[in-house]
């Protein structure tokens, strides 16, 4: 009995010293983890992903417009792949790939609409955008896309709106589709995530810095829990 008490006393004291010193190095990181965690948890992830920026238009294909046939396309463009017939704003359009290239073709006139010019890209972005703000800029990105745009989506128009959070819609210059969207809350989320996983460049969760800090933090957490047991749950021990 007496032995037990003595050992417990040591465990408490050691935990206290360890916790104190551990947190000298880790308390800032614990702050970063909890602040970034709070940000990610409290902002709805669908909002973060900008789902509320786009209408997700459900216009159905105006059948009477479709004058060009699939066989016409085959005759003109040769072997075609990934063919679809859909809507571009209010026009029936074909989208397809032939060789290495992608095409957007007016299904009534057979006119090639791709690559989109600035006017068409802005028109398309406005058609999908839920906000009321004006377009402040439109920029064609053909190479070296920013982090927020996958290289697979190139070339694409970035259309910026002057609303809260600086939203931007990216319109593919080839398919005319809104391929992604961003606002400051998502851009901030990306940074928040990098700080949460301690990789400030590639958001790689498997990095060595996180390994050592997390390992250290687990021991810090365990020592804290031991203190919780002795100091809060079972406070009748011998301590100053």
């Amino acid at each position: 009995m007496k032995n037990n008490n003595k050992r417990a006393f040591h465990l408490e004291k050691r935990s206290r010293t360890f916790h104190k010193w551990c947190m000298l190095f880790l308390s800032v990181q614990f702050m970063i983890w909890s602040v970034t965690g709070v940000y990610m948890v409290f902002f709805d992830i669908d909002y973060i992903h900008g789902d509320s920026l786009v209408k997700n238009q459900q216009n159905t294909i105006p059948l009477q417009q479709v004058q060009v046939s699939v066989k016409d396309l085959h005759q003109q463009y040769g072997e075609i792949e990934s063919l679809s017939l859909g809507v571009f704003i209010d026009k029936a359009v074909y989208r397809f790939q032939s060789g290495e290239r992608f095409y957007l073709v007016d299904a009534r006139t057979g006119k090639l609409l791709s690559p989109l010019d600035e006017h068409a890209a802005i028109y398309r972005a406005k058609h999908e955008y839920t906000g009321t703000g004006n377009v402040v800029s439109a920029q064609l990105i053909e190479q070296n896309p920013p982090f927020e745009l996958s290289p697979k989506r190139l070339p694409a128009w970035r259309v910026d709106f002057d609303d809260f959070g600086a939203p931007a819609l990216y319109v593919s210059a080839l398919s005319g589709e809104v391929v992604t969207k961003r606002h400051e809350w998502w851009r901030l989320f990306d940074w928040v995530f990098r700080f949460h996983v301690m990789d400030y460049q590639d958001s790689d969760v498997g990095n060595k810095l996180l390994f050592w800090v997390a390992l250290f933090a687990i021991t810090g957490g365990v020592s804290g829990l031991i203190l919780t047991y002795f100091r809060v749950l079972k406070p009748q021990g011998v301590h100053k």
Binding site: T17, K20, W21, M23, L24, S27, V28, F30, M31, W33, S34, V35, G37, V38, M40, V41, F42, F43, D44, I45, D51, V54, N56, Q58, N59, T60, I61, L63, V66, S69, V70, K71, H74, E81, S82, L83, S84, L85, G86, V87, V205, G206, N207, L210, F211, A214, L215, A217, I218, G221, V222, G224, L225, L227, T228, R231, V232, L233
Partner: protein, 237 residues
Amino acid sequence: MKWVRWSHKWLSIVVGLQLLIWLVSGFYFNLMDHEKVGGNQYRQTPIQQSSINYTQLLEAKHILAQAEPAISIELIHLLGRPYYLLNHHKGLYPHFKNRYSLYDAYQGELTELSEEMVKALALQTYNGSGKVASVKLLTGPIDDFAKQKNATWQVNFDNQVNTSVYVEAGSGRIVGHSDDDKRFADFFFMLHFMDYGGQGSFNNPQMMFFAFFTFWLSLTGFIWTVHLAKRGHYKRL
């Protein structure tokens, strides 16, 4: 300073264990084999036979004329045969609620994926050993793909890691592969996200509650540390 010490102690009771779960599961994410947890150990890209017989091919317009109005109609290949895939309600993402119909592009018949077709589609993407043990149509939530909101076939293989291949019922799209390695990681994600209902989300009330109080635990701990440093408690062990 008294309230800082007091709240740090009592907050540690409220969030202590969860904080440890976060640390341990976070540490696991750091260590886990990112290749394995994708669930794609036996996944392969099917070799598509994309040649189309244009004399036999029906026009997209012809199909549209007999079908419900559609937002898009796409020429796809399933098991080497062309089909027209119509989308009548477009979700913002493929895993959101979508409503499709499928027409044979040569015959024009409205087609529903049969169990046999689903099995064959799954096998096209699978290069492991073992046989198909069971095929099930899931209409409710899917444990392996919590975000998938459309009816999906589950094709189960009897291999060592219990691979399941998921095929969307309306479109024939391969939702993905899952296996025991992915399920093991998913268990840790469930813990880290406190996602006990399998919603595939971390925006839940219990998360908000614990995140909020963990923030206060960290803040009071930080203030305490600064206070100790100022008072010279870090001069020697």
